[in-house]
Assembly symmetry: D3
Homo-oligomer: 322 residues x 6
């Protein structure tokens, strides 16, 4: 059943999320701090046994210079600068195995798949730790360090994402002018953050994105991971305003206002995990060229393989592939 | 939590499934009937936009000569006879999209992915109808036509599977001497059926296989799809013996007794869908060379990507690839 | 809790279901095709051991001339033309046993209880197969053949229902001028279809009817069987428009517009299976004399025995019994 | 799935329920007390509009002389002494409507359907209050007054059941020598109690009976209503021994030891509500002629209509009907 | 997720509950009847082993003069008239143990904790029976005797609550002019009832109160115990109007209109058990000084320890403690 | 229903957990490292408004010298060395509010209530952060740092617990010779760890303890938090042996073997969270004087207030309280 507003209302929906006065200053300072660490990119070939693709184990310096893993996949033997897709993963996942996720490179792109610090318990593995402590939090990552914007987990993860784009661009096989970002769910939220923080991306694909419109997301669904906020605040109820203040610096709605790259989004009307109003909250605020596909009978899987086709179409167009 | 016996007991477990006296006669007649129809294989290139793989839309004549779809994927430009993997899918799925499921061809195999008649509602799409009526049945396919072995849905599907091997072998790009079959869940059950019905397969991989040990499977889990049997029999309780008679002709336990190809299997101790005793029921009866990997903390996903790695290893060895 | 709109809004609710231009042509052709087959009614006495009722095992030719079973029950020894109730059953059921469902004949009516092709897994048994194949479908009957109006399961079942009325009328013990139809849930949907397709029924009783207002029904509940549509369309998402086109030819809303017999309906405000707005969608469009009883604290059981009393009252009045 | 032991073990299962030394004295005193009140049977014809049956509204004095309602149904016009079925209902039910439950009288029996004091919230209505207070109890009836055998709800209900047999026998249309008792679930438990307390019943049918083997029933299922015991004892944990002492006076296991009438029982291997070991606990102790039918794929519905057929067969044989 | 209206709408919400013309007469008569029984207060010291508090086992005559238990706790050695909190418990609970619930007396109040007749199955024990029979009812207490206002369970319980205040005031250690009432959930409903029936209370604290706005409560949640009404009415559907007539005499909305003491309330926006609109239904009608705290991320636990702090603050202010 | 073995088997149950050769060395080194940091105890009075108790906000240096919070509660004005209870909390909790949890000090003990680093999302709040990063982990704390015994979260928490005892003993109001530890669930696991690591405790109370017998606990329940292990290992399946190696250094079974203080334990036969076999795994290995109370009808609440009474009795006896 529909988990949220009907489509006509979604297209008119306006989020109540606030845009903090020092939002840009906070992120400028955060990225400047990160930039004090050299990117320190290493690229090591992996013996996958695959005949048609080359895969490389990449490491780069993310937030606080901490080493972040990634996979780089390219058509076998490719050396020329390729149009490139930087991919971020969904909640609970990691970069997984070298021999997984072969579509993007098989389609002729360089594919840079960033690992997720500390995640990797659900659906794919991670090889990257999250080096930071936390005050009291609910199980999961959505309230890790939520007491302040400085300590919040997603400050580290969003910074990793920006650095991943930079690391990709530093590679010979990547055409730095033709780099797009994409992701599903949390990956879509990271793509929006990158779109708001990296000024010159060529394309953005955010499918059923997570991490958007926290004020509404935290009260209209009981599904995880948004539910983590409710769990935390049900006990730490006196911290409610403080937590929402932190979250406003990490909301896809606010990154959308600052983004300019052509963007492709999808939403699903039966999605309880990222309810479509929270997706449209970002879409309706997105400042660049944009299109959205709405799937009426889907849950959080969204368009799945149809979304893969939409993604390929978008990247072929905006990265001027083939 | 464990959904079944501990591993030590699994290794000793003996199914109570009966081996009908006319089992071989029934299948010989069924396949002879099918063979009266020409295989009628057509192979049409698909424009997928993939750079590293060629994909073909295949049609062949399955049970009763009905047209069955498949995808053929090979490394781009391959024409020589390749070691070949014939894949069968899980319950509810179909062959899906031409640009999905790229691992096997990327690893250098010819990959023949058979569609599932009438299925395709859950996880991937099917392009093949099931042309047959049915007496009263529970929702789903497990009791479709279960009133007799002649009308049972899986008679048609198992026959399609045997014909898929034949269709693959008829192709120039396939090395007929180096064909293996594989599948997960229902696909594993189909792989076992093929292993019992096709005498000269080079390798079999059956991961967390479904369709094994119906007498036990139907009473030790409430998970679908085995639960379909209980739903049907709870109303059609006077048909219980008749249904079990039908099922005995389709039980992986009985195919395992007749198989000779080297076989790789996996089982998961927390699997409620294909409880591990039903998997070991087939494994313990398997008549050819065999190995099994047991995942103690997994459900029906089994080893997932680790099982993909095991599968590649098995096929590289037994199909004498590279 | 309420599963839908409050009653005041229900009474104003207007369905968005479309009325296809060729709706009447489609059904005229369908029934003309069916009429090419002789009704071929056979009536065989059953030894039930009941002292007060005579029961007969009836067979007649339904869609495509396929044999459909029914029970006929009358007060013991009755031979004169009686006011008659043709009953259709709920989803998953069949005609059941000869000695079940004794109210209607005990009340002095001839009771003609039609079997349901291929159903009979839940609550009562069926003795009638569904002789037709199907393209990919979700488990159950709601998407069987939904790819086109010609192949849709309910084309066959609705035709059976019209033929059941004709078969009943052909019997000596039935007064053809005093025939009413009734049913609960799917049976109510079938009663509405019969009301729209048979011009001269004396009365219609449709209790918490199913098969009404598919556009809304498919998005406001997660309960089965409407949920089958969502399951099918979540994978076959590109078939959404086509499926809804098919459904528009089978929607009780469209049959209601064409019906003229006095109609009694019930709806339940806590019904998740046939949400009351979908019931009112049909009621508000019903073109003949009509009344509806709303049960505020009931789920899909509706008024149950109170609805039986309402049904008896309606048939006594409109069939001019006693 | 199976909710309990496999059938072979069930047939050997021995309950640990104790047989209190003063069990017979307690019940003799209870029934003697009840007998101080005149039965005070009133029989009033009901205008049901049924053509084939006569229905009467019966009242008799039950426990403590409190008025208990019942329906009497007989074939229309019957006046001669008929073989008679006294029926007790399942938990939460009552005698319901006069025009429900027509099978038994339609089959030629006099049918005496006792109401259940204070119940009637689930599935059918009751017209009989329970005139007694209670100490702390869990919601429901299973712990009402469980603090002592004198105040326990089922002391009143079992006494009503014995008095119902006496009331039935006092009627002209009832052949007192040909009276059987029957019931499903709680009704089966009441039938067993009547079988243990009324020495000269002609037949007993107890289908998937409730109220048997409390020591085991209270620890092997979470299904209601046995779960009520667990709810009560989880808070009133210091009352555990006292509650079990009370229950031992009301356990079907102990009544079974004292019964002599021919008995027909059914059990279902997937029944979570009355797990089959608790049913076999009574069956294995039953002291009279007995038979049991085991349904392997059914839950608490047991054999349903097949059990009705078994019931008719048993009563036809033992009540020497027709 | 929110279980009800957003806060702005809650503050405007007006219940549809009716105010029966003879509401005051009914309660005047009820309390007058109760007053014919002497309060009969007994106070017996309990040896708890606590060093800092004295605890007494209190008995007083409640409805119909039936003995009702309570605990009295005071700081060790206290004898002077203290500001006093009379506490009522939540559904399913009782007064529990003498050594539980130490906050209020530790904070310097006399704490009078009333037992709940017949309850005590969930969370704490009761030592008080409910001496009354009941017509058919759903499991639980919400429909016990609901057929008429005279026999309804809560007539007895509300009367007990009024008598508890009187019993407390009769004690030397209680300053009769400084008595407040408080409770959570059902306890909050009892506090509102006391506030409407006892004219001179010094303060009222009703946290997430139950027993308010039955017309809405019974249709907007499936959570127990309001769900008991739906269960009862789903079978006893013809009693719907009668039950609601009874309930109107026991609705916190109607007591709120008659209350004058300063009142502190809390509501939780994610509460499915006492949805916030039902709480605001009482709050918006409360006729005395009032304040409400709304917890946006809490369920039925409400503010828990924060609500304890709010309660202490309110009583310290209104009972002019230290 | 029972969630585990019957009591007789529990008393014979032997865990398969291994006792690592360097267990003692690991803990000796861990505690030696901790001891390099001064305890640094600060004690600040809190204005709670409580009349009968004094409460102090305590800070001490835990693992790695990180500041850990605690509450100290004593009878108002107490200054003499008191028998003392050091309490550890259940999973998800923290030390909560100063005015909560008053029983132990009201009973005359000094009550030292340790905070839980990083927890505090469920049931009570924490004021103590967990200052450490983690590799990939499942949501929650049970797999935080589980990759090695050095980085495992519970290394830090167990060390905090030992330091809490030392901090308590450093206070004037505490009689260092009469210190006991207690806890429920995770708190019980911490109490067992303290019992194994602190040689001279006077008493130990471990109620339904968590963190015992990981090999079995991780496979016989789906309830959280043990389920966190299964979630982590279902993705990180190749880390299974490594994780279990880590866990063996933190298993209550191994601490029990090393403990000598008199110990009181409780277990509940319907506990799915800490199944009773895991509790008996520790109990059966406990090397000191011991007693256990088994609650047959309770879940993880165990004996609740009865367990409080048992706890008071144990401490009164073993701490030689007045």
């Amino acid at each position: 059943m529909y988990t949220d507003l009907p489509e006509a209302d979604l297209r008119r929906y306006v989020s109540e999320q606030v845009d903090p006065a020092d939002f840009d200053a906070f992120w400028a300072e955060t990225l400047t701090d990160a930039a004090t660490h050299d990117l320190n990119v290493t690229v090591i070939p992996v013996d996958t046994g695959l005949a048609t693709l080359d895969v490389f184990d990449v490491t780069f310096a993310g937030f606080a210079g901490q080493p972040i893993k990634a996979w780089l996949r390219v058509p076998a033997g490719a050396t020329e600068p390729l149009p490139t897709i930087v991919q971020f993963h969904g909640y609970g996942r990691g970069r997984g195995q070298s021999y997984e996720n072969l579509l993007w490179a098989s389609a002729g792109f360089a594919h840079f798949e960033m690992d997720l610090r500390g995640q990797g318990w659900g659906g794919s593995t991670s090889d990257t730790p999250d080096e930071a402590g936390s005050g009291p939090q609910a199980p999961g990552f959505l309230t890790r360090g939520v007491d302040s914007k400085e300590t919040y987990y997603f400050r580290r993860l969003y910074t990793d994402a920006v650095r991943a784009v930079e690391a990709a661009r530093s590679l010979d096989v990547v055409d730095a002018a033709r780099v797009g970002v994409m992701g599903v769910s949390q990956g879509g939220g990271l793509a929006l953050a990158a779109a708001g923080l990296v000024p010159d991306l060529a394309a953005v694909v955010a499918r059923v994105p997570f991490l958007c419109d926290f004020p509404r997301a935290s009260v209209i669904t009981d599904a995880h991971p948004y539910r983590e906020l409710g769990i935390y605040l049900s006990t730490n109820r006196l911290n409610t305003a403080r937590a929402h203040d932190t979250l406003s610096y990490f909301d896809g709605v606010n990154f959308a206002k600052r983004a300019r790259a052509p963007m492709t989004m999808t939403a699903a009307l039966m999605d309880p995990i990222c309810p479509p109003s929270t997706v449209f909250a970002a879409y309706n605020n997105y400042a660049g060229p944009k299109q959205i596909t709405v799937w009426p009978y889907n849950g959080h899987e969204g368009g799945a393989w149809e979304d893969d086709a939409l993604t390929l179409t978008a990247f072929r167009e905006h990265l001027r592939q083939g």
